[in-house]
């Protein structure tokens, strides 16, 4: 999304995840070229951010960005453990 200039992209906010200032343009690509799942929550008091994302993303990407269940930190870690275990087993198979 950062290839599209938008009138809000240089607005700043303190990111509750990072603990430092970020611009709206960062929030637009935080999830690897998708917006941060918290972006609507964070910016909705400033402007019609939901409308903006609906227009820019389209239905499918909007769903991917905002309508997926958000795992807790522990669930996230557990998922990442499984993913990393797979890397171990793939490496092991390659070396066999």
């Amino acid at each position: 999304m950062n290839d599209i200039s938008n009138p809000f992209e240089e607005q700043e906010m303190r990111c509750p995840k990072l603990g430092g200032p970020v611009t709206f343009s960062y929030c637009c690509v935080e999830a690897v070229n998708l917006p941060c799942s918290r972006a609507i929550r964070c910016w909705c008091d400033r402007f019609e951010v939901e409308s903006l994302f609906r227009r820019k993303l389209g239905d499918e990407k909007f769903r991917l960005a905002f309508e997926q269940p958000q795992p807790t930190r522990l669930e996230n870690i557990l998922e990442l453990i499984e993913r990393a275990k797979k890397i171990n087993s793939d490496d092991s198979e390659r070396s066999d």
Binding site: R14, L18, V32, I40, R46, S51, R73, I77, L80, N88
Partner: protein
């Protein structure tokens, strides 16, 4: 009237307080997202040493602090409890304001209170190296310090945007001997995948967590020293370690014959708030009258505006989505309540205490937090971390309220860290770059009109 209330070194608390023993609503074990079975110790073993996992699931009320941990905590603990006499004079309200100064730690915040025991337990377990992620660097620097105290290697994946914005935190980590790399990095599969999609990716906390967990889980297979992962907030054992703050404060207040009417802490992931408040929540459960306030930003609130239905996505089957902030924090959709609500990003223990009515969440505006921080600096002298300013803003509100109501109040606040490496945020405030409120509607409409016809992005 003493300005600083000290404890002798031999008065440092020797046990942490585990609130899981006293929760009115006992915590249910989380479910594994893959198996949908309750998470067991073996599920966490690839990333945490078993001694910390035991703490994570423990329901013992008191957990002994090992002597080796106390020896390290004594470098800066017990921290002084201050009476904010200058601020009290300035406010001219019928309040006594006490603050626990956690900014005196080597890393300048409360984070080393858990970094030290986590490093210790990893060391005892035979771990040689700890991997972690950090956003702005507060946790990364604390863990780097702790690892240096126990002769462990530290590897910190720092979100690239912060790595570039916050060179001082990175240099603190380096000074303590840690290796800090910008995330996404080329050192993990997770990082390489992101860089393949976007070589200029600014990173995110999610990516950095992925890298740190992968680093830990694949360490042995890839010939690195035995590595585990460490987290600076949210988890039960992290909150447990922080309770030393509140336990010390209770002893210090007893010295001067006071007890707080109000306990205030800022709450991001919940650890510093838990640290100051959980021993007082225990008192409240036992019938003591004490108001306990967790403070968060008005922008991006999680606790105060209730469950934002986007958080539940498909699990709620409530599409099309509607912003539900206006329903207020008392509103809990039945399916969520049944499953156990977890405020997004907030520690489950803190979330449950809010639901049980023991903790009151409050949101404050960004500009008010900096106004409070500047007034604090010009009265008490200390420059606060921006997140600490959230708690200070609530102190100001409560002082004003006490004056309006004509009631004398004793306020205890956790001054969770200094802001000496966050001065850019103060600069933004002084330059008027920070805003609180909505943009004018005509400006919004103009802006949205400008977007019409723009191409859809390619991902």
């Amino acid at each position: 009237m003493p300005v600083k209330i000290f404890l002798n070194e031999d008065e440092i608390p020797r046990e942490w307080y585990n609130i899981a023993a006293d929760m009115p609503t006992p915590m249910q074990p989380p479910l594994h997202p893959g198996t949908h079975q309750p998470v067991g110790p073996e599920d966490l073993a690839p990333v945490f040493p078993m001694n910390l996992i035991e703490q994570e699931v423990s329901t013992e009320r008191w957990i002994k602090i090992p002597d080796q941990v106390l020896d390290k905590l004594l470098l800066w603990r017990p921290t002084p409890l201050y009476r904010a006499v200058n601020l009290e004079k300035f406010l001219n309200c019928p309040v006594k304001i006490y603050y626990k100064n956690e900014g005196v730690s080597p890393a300048g915040s409360h984070k080393p209170n858990t970094a030290i025991p986590q490093a210790y337990y990893n060391k005892v377990f035979g771990v040689k190296r700890i991997a972690t992620e950090t956003g702005a660097g507060q946790w990364g620097s604390a863990l780097s310090f702790a690892c240096s105290q126990f002769g462990l290697e530290a590897k910190v994946y720092m979100v690239r945007i912060s790595y570039e914005q916050k060179p001082y935190r990175r240099l603190m980590m380096n000074t303590w001997g840690a290796t800090c790399v910008p995330s996404p990095s080329t050192e993990t599969e997770a990082g390489r995948k992101v860089l393949a999609l976007d070589p200029n990716s600014p990173g995110s906390l999610g990516i950095a967590i992925s890298e740190a967990v992968e680093d830990a889980v694949t360490s042995e297979a890839q010939g690195r020293p035995l590595t585990r992962y460490a987290l600076g907030s949210v988890l039960n054992h992290v909150l447990l370690h922080q309770t030393i703050i509140g336990l010390e404060a209770q002893k210090q207040l007893a010295q001067v014959g006071d007890y707080p009417d109000i306990v205030i802490g800022c709450a991001g992931g919940g650890s510093n708030f838990a640290g100051i408040s959980f021993p007082f929540v225990r008192d409240k459960i036992a019938g003591k009258q004490v108001q306990i306030i967790a403070v968060e930003p008005m922008s991006c609130p999680t606790m105060t505006r209730g469950p934002f239905l986007y958080d539940f996505g498909d699990t709620m089957q409530m599409t099309p989505l509607l912003p539900m902030h206006t329903l207020g924090h008392a509103f809990i959709p039945a399916p969520v309540h049944a499953g156990g609500l977890r405020y997004h990003g907030m520690a489950p223990l803190v979330s449950q205490l809010i639901l049980d009515g023991l903790v009151e969440p409050r949101a404050v505006y960004q500009l008010d937090t900096f106004k409070a921080g500047v007034t604090w600096a010009r009265t008490e002298g200390f420059i606060s971390a921006p997140e600490t300013n959230h708690a200070l803003a609530a102190v100001f509100q409560e002082a004003k309220k006490a004056k309006e109501e004509g009631k004398e109040k004793v306020i205890l606040v956790n001054w969770s860290g200094h802001g000496l490496v966050d001065l850019a945020a103060y600069d933004a405030f002084f330059q008027g770059k920070l805003v609180d409120y909505e943009m004018p509607q005509d400006e919004i409409e103009l802006a949205l009109k400008a977007l019409e016809g723009f191409p859809k992005p390619n991902f």
